[in-house]
């Protein structure tokens, strides 16, 4: 390791260049991870907040809450929730919002004792909105009263939370047949229909899977490209050093000493790049406007960083193999004669 460190500290330019390249690749990966997590949050944070394990939806809904219509039964033991996209007018201006109606006395309630007609709204709905303001549903003229703010996003739009009492009042006001979007409960209660987990529900949000798959693919490619670049650099560095390494081999220095030095350098450079990238990603998160969907999930960026370190060590096997193959005689004097 001393050997590896001495080389790095005395050949700063070479290793700095390698660090910068590695850092930029890892940085791109962590930024994309932040963006992916930000978009994932923006797409389904309202569902993340729900604290139930399973949901029963209308079989024809294709897993989408906004397309699930379940007739209300006399069974009062089942908790229900309803989700519906609305167009509301705020000071005469139309805004798209998703209404989440949740049980008022359960572990997934909106968190406040709301009166009928009252809603909690995501601050991104409108900067001008204040508690006590009235929102009017464009289709039914139902009047929602703003009772407070609470964050919640669904399908890249703001969410309004309310109680089931308000939901049924809303349906009644607009002369619609009473229905709910999902029944909530443990898996054992649900033997038929379309039963989904919370993660299934999130992944069924329109565009969610396509969006996340794209980012996953980008990250996977970046990991592979980064590993290739790093491997290529270390391979070239090893080729450059072959005369000296061949001499050391001829002298009798154990190949593992040289191999360890190389592994040490790979681990130090990539780990430093990963740690720096995560730090810079947090700084970026603090600096960019809140309107940009960006979220740093330490677990995620650390996971991709760890994968990068692992793949780089794996890539280092190529220069290590080359080291092992060095023919000392060839290095000393070419052909033996």
């Amino acid at each position: 390791m001393k050997l590896g460190w001495k080389e790095m500290s005395r050949q700063k330019r070479k290793f700095s260049m390698l660090f910068v390249i590695t850092f930029l690749i890892v940085m791109l990966t962590t930024l994309i991870t932040g963006l992916a997590d930000g978009l994932a949050y923006d797409n389904g944070s309202a569902l993340h907040e729900l604290n139930a394990s399973t949901y029963r939806l209308d079989p024809d809904s294709e897993g989408q809450l906004t397309r699930s219509f379940i007739d209300v039964t006399a069974d009062t033991s089942t908790e229900t929730m309803s989700v519906r996209p609305l167009t509301v007018t705020i000071d005469g201006k139309k805004e798209e919002v998703t209404l989440f109606a949740l049980p008022s006395a359960s572990n997934i309630d909106p968190g406040t004792n709301l009166e009928t007609g009252e809603v909690l709204f995501d601050p991104s709905l409108s900067e001008q909105l204040e508690t006590g303001d009235i929102l009017i549903d464009f289709a039914s003229n139902y009047r929602f009263t703003m009772a407070g703010e609470t964050p919640g996003r669904y399908s890249h739009g703001p969410v309004m939370y309310t109680t089931n009492e308000t939901w049924f009042d809303y349906l009644n006001h607009s002369e619609q047949r009473p229905y709910v979007s999902a029944e909530i409960g443990s898996e054992s209660m649900m033997s038929d229909s379309l039963v989904m987990s919370q993660q299934d529900l999130i992944e069924s949000v329109p565009g969610y899977s396509a969006e996340q798959s794209t980012f996953t693919m980008m990250r996977a490619f970046l990991l592979v490209i980064g590993t290739f670049i790093l491997t290529a650099f270390f391979y070239l560095f090893t080729l450059q050093k072959l005369p000296e390494l061949g001499i050391l081999k001829a002298i009798g220095l154990a190949p593992r000493i040289i191999g360890r030095a190389l592994l040490f350098q790979v681990i130090v450079i990539v780990t430093t790049a990963v740690v720096t990238s995560i730090g810079v990603t947090y700084v970026v998160d603090a600096l960019i406007p809140s309107s940009l969907p960006f979220l740093v999930d330490f677990g995620h960026v650390a996971l991709f960083g760890s994968m990068f370190i692992f793949l780089s060590v794996l890539g280092a096997l190529l220069p290590l193999w080359k080291l092992r193959q060095v023919d000392a005689i060839e290095i000393i004097g070419g052909k033996a004669s």
């Binding site: 001829a250 009798g252 220095l253 033996a336």
Partner: protein, 212 residues
Amino acid sequence: MRLSHVSHQFDGHLVLNDIELHVSPGECVAIVGPSGSGKSTLLYILGLLRKPDQGAFMMDGRDVFELDEEQRRLLRLLEVGFVFQQAHLIPYLTVLEQLELIQETEEVDAKQRLTDLGLGHRLHHLPTTLSGGEKQRVAVARALINSPRLILADEPTASLDYENGRRVMELLADEAHRAGRSVVVITHDERMLDVCDRVLRILDGALTEVNN
């Protein structure tokens, strides 16, 4: 050390033919011969880098080519010192660190050894700041750091001017005479031969003694 009935082929051509060579402790032997005569192959066999097709290389009464690769590596590290045509120093290690990297025994004080070779003021210098003669003296010091019994030098003066070359040859001969090591030097430079105790010529794979 003794080479006994050593023969070796290279590309179907007999490079060494039934070679017998004995070098006593304290003896400096020079081997001369035209290019392609088998000098280097002989050196690689003496340096345990190449196993001959036939014959034995006896050290301490055992054939070293009976040892496995790891044992031969250790023998090279501890019992054989190499000096090459080029110094081949590690560019990012100081003069002192070049020796410390391969030092396995406390018997020799690396600083003292370098000082004895006139490099006391260069201990913490990188190879890029050294002259050709200084680099080669570092290479000699590196070859001696584990107090090997056999020193092999392959054209050690080829990249040096006469004065520096002579100094390196005298260093090697002095090591043989003073410390009782066996020294084998391959050289083209006939002006250096008088430093050695014996001169052998290799021609068409056969080794013959040259009368001074």
